[in-house]
């Protein structure tokens, strides 16, 4: 039961993009086309689930017993960078088609703050192992949802008559703000 609550909480109620401001750069940068947005979302979900699992294991089984928690950030970023590298090599070797569809997004994910941010939040909230895995997966799906909605809206915006000063980043941010308002409808459902 509580796993479902955690999943819904991180995917909808505390959506990474709308409520925690994580992963804003790809959210604004890679949301011009729906298919690209979907690819990015899937890549993030994949890496986030793996990273959340790995960082939980390393933090709780290595760093905490050895009192090395002050090296947490360095350890986390190394884990994430090597996870991305591993995933990239594995996909290139065994799943050529998937690798080509992820393309440029995989290396970019290392500097996606949604990944590091979620790992840090999981640590902050003191989740156990299963909860961490579920939270990583749910967070990734929530990100995919957010970036796909945004890309859908922006494809329509191409045709709209936007005030000249607001063109580009301005209108995207205002749209994101209105979308956030919509997602606030979920707030209060679960803590």
């Amino acid at each position: 039961m509580s796993l479902i609550v955690i999943f819904l909480s991180i995917a909808l109620v505390n959506n990474l993009v709308f409520m925690k401001f994580l992963g804003i750069c790809p959210y604004l940068g890679v949301s011009k086309k729906t298919d690209m947005a979907f690819g990015m979302g899937l890549a993030v979900t994949f890496v986030l689930t793996l990273s959340a699992t790995m960082t939980w294991i390393i933090n709780n089984l290595v760093l905490v017993p050895l009192n090395l928690e002050f090296t947490k950030y360095i350890a986390f970023i190394l884990v994430i960078a090597s996870m991305v590298q591993l995933v990239e090599m594995y996909l290139r070797k065994f799943y050529k088609a998937l690798y080509q569809s992820f393309g440029i997004f995989l290396p970019l994910i290392t500097t996606n703050c949604a990944i590091l941010g979620t790992c840090l939040f999981i640590d902050l909230w003191g989740y156990n192992f299963m909860e961490a895995v579920v939270a990583g997966f749910g967070g990734g799906l929530g990100f995919t949802l957010a970036i796909c909605i945004m890309a859908g809206i922006r494809e329509q915006l191409e045709l709209a008559d936007v005030p000249r000063a607001l063109e580009g980043a301005g209108i995207t941010l205002v749209t994101a703000g209105i979308l956030t308002l919509a997602f606030m409808g979920f707030s209060g459902m679960v803590r």
């Binding site: 709308f18 409520m19 925690k20 401001f21 994580l22 992963g23 804003i24 750069c25 604004l28 002050f70 090296t71 947490k72 950030y73 360095i74 986390f76 970023i77 190394l78 960078a81 290392t110 500097t111 996606n112 703050c113 990944i115 590091l116 941010g117 840090l120 939040f121 902050l124 005030p163 000249r164 000063a165 607001l166 063109e167 980043a169 301005g170 209108i171 995207t172 941010l173 205002v174 749209t175 994101a176 703000g177 209105i178 956030t180 308002l181 606030m184």
Partner: protein
């Protein structure tokens, strides 16, 4: 290259980064902390100064070891350098400003993946001599701080009627709660960008004959 030429190059870089190439308004880098910590001025200022410290130190170190960096490992080296300084900044905040550290939460460690800082390491510090890189770091850091404080000023005054915890608007002012929430952050930043683009356009246009 003469010392004077390097100095002037460094100073131009510093001034340019402050406003003309402001990381937030012009380059749209480092958006996550920009939106997340600007509900009030105090955390915004703390965040800006912490990021300034990190970018200056990271630029210094990257510039010193720029000849030793191998191309395919350089991003990893940048990230590790930045992570070390972020850890220092985080421990400093926890020790001396515990309440700010509480408010900022995971957004201090998230400076590690702030694309603004990696971008400076890549575009400037790994190519330029030490002094230019340091001045570039200060410029980008202060530019970031200015942007954060501007956004936080609007949000805190409209959202709570206070500025830096001092009451500026009369007590009958009904706070716009939305400004404190994530939605307010997005919309305020979007409108601020629009104002800045508009002003820039007007300045660039040749003055009309009267």
């Amino acid at each position: 290259m003469s010392a004077r030429a390097t100095t002037s190059e460094a100073l131009t870089g510093f001034v340019k980064n402050l406003w003309a190439e402001n990381p937030v308004f012009r380059a749209l880098l480092g958006m996550c902390p920009t939106l997340a910590v600007t509900a009030a001025v105090k955390p915004a200022l703390t965040m800006g100064l912490a990021a300034t410290f990190v970018v200056v130190c990271a630029n210094t170190l990257v510039s010193i070891m720029r000849h030793a960096l191998t191309p395919h490992l350089r991003i990893l080296m940048f990230t590790l350098t930045i992570a070390v300084f972020v850890t220092i900044a985080d421990l400093f905040l926890k020790a001396f400003l515990p309440d700010m550290s509480e408010v900022l939460g995971p957004f201090v460690p998230l400076i590690i993946v702030n694309c603004m800082i990696i971008a400076r390491a890549e575009a400037c510090a790994s190519k330029k001599p030490l002094f230019t890189a340091v001045m570039d770091g200060f410029g980008i850091g202060f530019g970031f701080t200015i942007a954060l404080v501007m956004l936080a000023t609007i949000r805190e005054i409209l959202g709570g009627g206070t500025w830096f915890d001092f009451r500026v608007l009369p007590t009958w002012w009904v706070p716009w709660t939305i400004m404190k929430l994530p939605a307010g952050a997005f919309i305020t930043l979007g409108l601020m960008l629009a104002v800045i683009v508009h002003l820039q356009r007007r300045r660039q246009k040749p003055p009309q004959a009267a």
